[in-house]
């Protein structure tokens, strides 16, 4: 049964998504429990699969029973197992959170909301487990189509942002597909492991280089890497509050994961470290993204837009860590990816909560939550500390390992970029904290009004997760180092 788990993890949310319109036709109230049950089952399954991977080694799943180079292969190894766990748990917590805020934000399209969310989650799990370049494209498209629809679900202004997202996202997918086409033309295979065996003798080929550039460019649009980030702030700002917390942590991070898979598994660590300067290019782009994203965040007045730019900056940090080419940097990058997903979820939880209770959209209005929303304020402090990188939060240890890796690699530009991004992050959080704690207010005190139970539970759980990730960072990084590393990384 264990060897069937990858398919089961994908099928559970997929079945639920497909059935959702029919359930919604009978009774809309059943949609939410069914969706939550599906995501809970998925979470439990993915945890048990990861436990299996750690004790028995990776699972390779051949669809329809056709052996890998010819058939479609899914890989559940230490890295994808970890990511699947992250995706399913975050999805469960976010859907729990979004319950009370959902109907108002999306104009009563309840069955559609749950269908699209579950479809998004199953597609993301498909990207994570795919061991085949074309499968990554297919699920990337499914996930993107679901995200476009989710962003535009509330209608009005969001439709324009969703349309921009659609145009740019489709361009990204087309570039990626073009790159896959070049690879297929040269190597004659789509399976990542098979591509890796064929590539070393084909590196002189210009088609391989062109394909690689197209693939990286396509994924860079999907992960909103500066300067291709134009779609993200508008899309995340205008998307309904019940939807941003699920898009922000998962969609861009899974695109980063797809890039990791392609660079280190399809091309192979040896190729990208020694033969092709792709790691250098991506890490420079990451350094630019980390600084520019944080700099742009500094000048924002809308809360959701500010957090969106913060996310852009953190994608840069993850890329810096991963592209150092040594084990510490890689583990740090992956650990920071997980942390960043949790932090993004909490940030958009906060943005949703302050709007839900007080109608606050701008940073200056945050004075109104002082003394009113203790849970939200506590979560804001914790996530702020983690975004800046202060122990004992997870964000600190992620940055710590990235900097250690950069020092090992002798890459002082990367160290400087991480530190500069940290200072800029500190600056924009000081701005937020100033309004929450210090700015004098003339507004009459309302009676304290906290958010409803499910929202409180989700926010508390993820804020606790930030601190727990910091406390167990040693163990998590050891797990990554032992089970999730690509072959051939420098120690």
């Amino acid at each position: 049964m264990t060897e069937q788990l990858p398919a089961i993890i994908f099928l559970v949310p997929f079945f639920a998504a497909v059935m959702m319109p029919m359930i919604g036709m009978k009774n809309q109230d059943w949609c939410r429990p069914v969706a939550l049950t599906a995501l809970a089952v998925m979470s439990v399954t993915s945890i048990s699969m990861y436990a299996g991977i750690v004790s028995h080694g990776p699972i390779s799943y051949a669809f329809s029973g056709w052996a890998p180079p010819i058939g479609i292969e899914w890989i559940a190894d230490g890295l994808s197992g970890l990511l699947i766990m992250m995706v399913s748990l975050l999805a469960f917590v976010t859907v729990t959170f979004a319950g009370p805020a959902t109907p108002a934000g999306i104009g009563g399209r309840i069955p559609y909301y749950y269908t699209l969310i579950l479809l998004l989650i199953s597609a993301l799990s498909g990207i994570v487990m795919a061991g085949d370049l074309f499968n990554v494209f297919v699920f990337l498209e499914v996930a993107s189509l679901a995200s476009y629809a989710l962003v535009g679900l509330s209608g009005g202004r969001a439709l324009i942002s969703a349309f921009r997202y659609l145009i740019l996202g489709t361009l990204g997918a087309a570039l990626y597909l073009l790159g896959v086409g070049y690879f297929y033309a040269v190597t004659g295979t789509l399976n990542m492991a098979d591509v890796a065996t064929h590539l070393p003798e084909l590196l002189k080929s210009k088609a391989v280089m062109a394909g690689l550039i197209f693939m990286v460019l396509g994924l860079a649009i999907k992960m909103a890497l500066v300067p291709l980030h134009g779609w993200l702030p508008d899309a995340y700002t205008d998307a309904p509050d019940s939807i941003t917390p699920i898009l922000a942590p998962l969609v861009t991070k899974v695109a980063v994961f797809a890039l990791i898979r392609i660079l280190f598994w399809a091309l192979g660590a040896k190729t990208v470290i020694q033969d092709v300067p792709i790691l250098l290019i991506v890490s420079w782009l990451g350094a630019i993204a980390a600084i520019v994203g944080a700099f742009l965040a500094l000048s924002q007045t809308e809360i959701k837009r500010l957090f969106a730019y913060g996310g852009i900056s953190h994608v840069g940090l993850i890329l810096i860590g991963i592209c150092l080419g040594n084990q510490t940097g890689f583990a740090g990058g992956v650990f920071y990816l997980i942390n960043d997903a949790v932090m993004q979820a909490v940030l958009f939880f906060i943005a949703a909560s302050v709007f839900y209770r007080h109608g606050i959209r701008t940073v200056t209005d945050l004075v109104h939550i002082r003394g009113q929303m203790p849970w939200t304020t506590a979560a804001l402090v914790i996530v702020g500390l983690s975004m800046i990188g202060i122990p004992p939060t997870g964000g600190f240890f992620g940055k710590w390992y990235i900097i250690l890796g950069a020092l090992d690699a002798g890459n002082y530009v990367a160290v400087a970029a991480v530190l500069a991004a940290t200072l800029l992050t500190l600056a924009y959080f000081v701005k937020i904290f100033e309004y929450v704690f210090f700015e004098s207010t003339s507004v009459a005190k309302h009676p304290a009004s906290e958010i409803p139970g499910p929202m409180k539970f989700s926010m508390g759980a993820l804020s606790a997760a930030i601190i727990i990730l910091g406390l167990v960072s040693d163990q998590v990084v050891t797990l990554i180092l032992e089970h999730a590393l690509p072959r051939g990384l420098i120690t």
Binding site: F15, G65, R109
Partner: protein, 152 residues
């Protein structure tokens, strides 16, 4: 809302043509395992015949409860597809490995044949329903009436 075409010639001719298109669609669907074709193409052809019918004979969604049901039934085809795949899982094989479909008294080749056919029927259903539901959604939004769900 789409009104019926008022030409008698068009209406009479389409009465002949639509069944022919559908027959061809089913042929492509069933022939798909041995030659060019399959669920997707067959579904597109069947969907086209349905759209043709809607354009010629008109459609008033407010009168027909079935239309609303169809709009929510997009997933039925996918459910058939994933369901047959899931049955293979229960039989102990990989997803969509038809050799492990547990149908008593059937040879391996026949099991594979029926497995592929069933999943292709699922795909065809989904493609046809999606095609027709796109047309219906567009014809509904013209009246500023969105297919929001059953309770609206």
């Amino acid at each position: 809302m789409i009104y019926a075409h008022d030409s008698l010639i068009v209406q009479t001719l389409s009465r002949f043509i639509i069944p022919l298109i559908q027959l061809f669609g089913f042929y492509v669907l069933f022939f798909g395992q041995y030659g060019p074709g399959g669920g997707f193409v067959g579904g597109v052809i069947i969907g086209t015949s349905l759209i043709f019918g809607v354009l010629v004979f008109g459609l008033d969604p407010s009168r027909s409860a079935m239309v609303n049901r169809v709009l929510h039934g997009d997933g039925l085809g996918l459910l058939i597809f994933a369901g047959v795949g899931g049955l293979c899982l229960i039989g102990g094989g990989e997803f969509l490995n038809y050799a492990d479909l547990q149908i008593p008294g059937m040879e391996l080749a026949t099991r594979r044949y029926f497995g592929i056919l069933l999943t292709q029927i699922g795909v065809a259903t989904d493609v046809a329903v999606t095609a027709i539901s796109i047309v219906m959604s567009l014809s509904l939004t013209e009246k500023n009436e969105e297919p929001n769900g059953p309770n609206h």
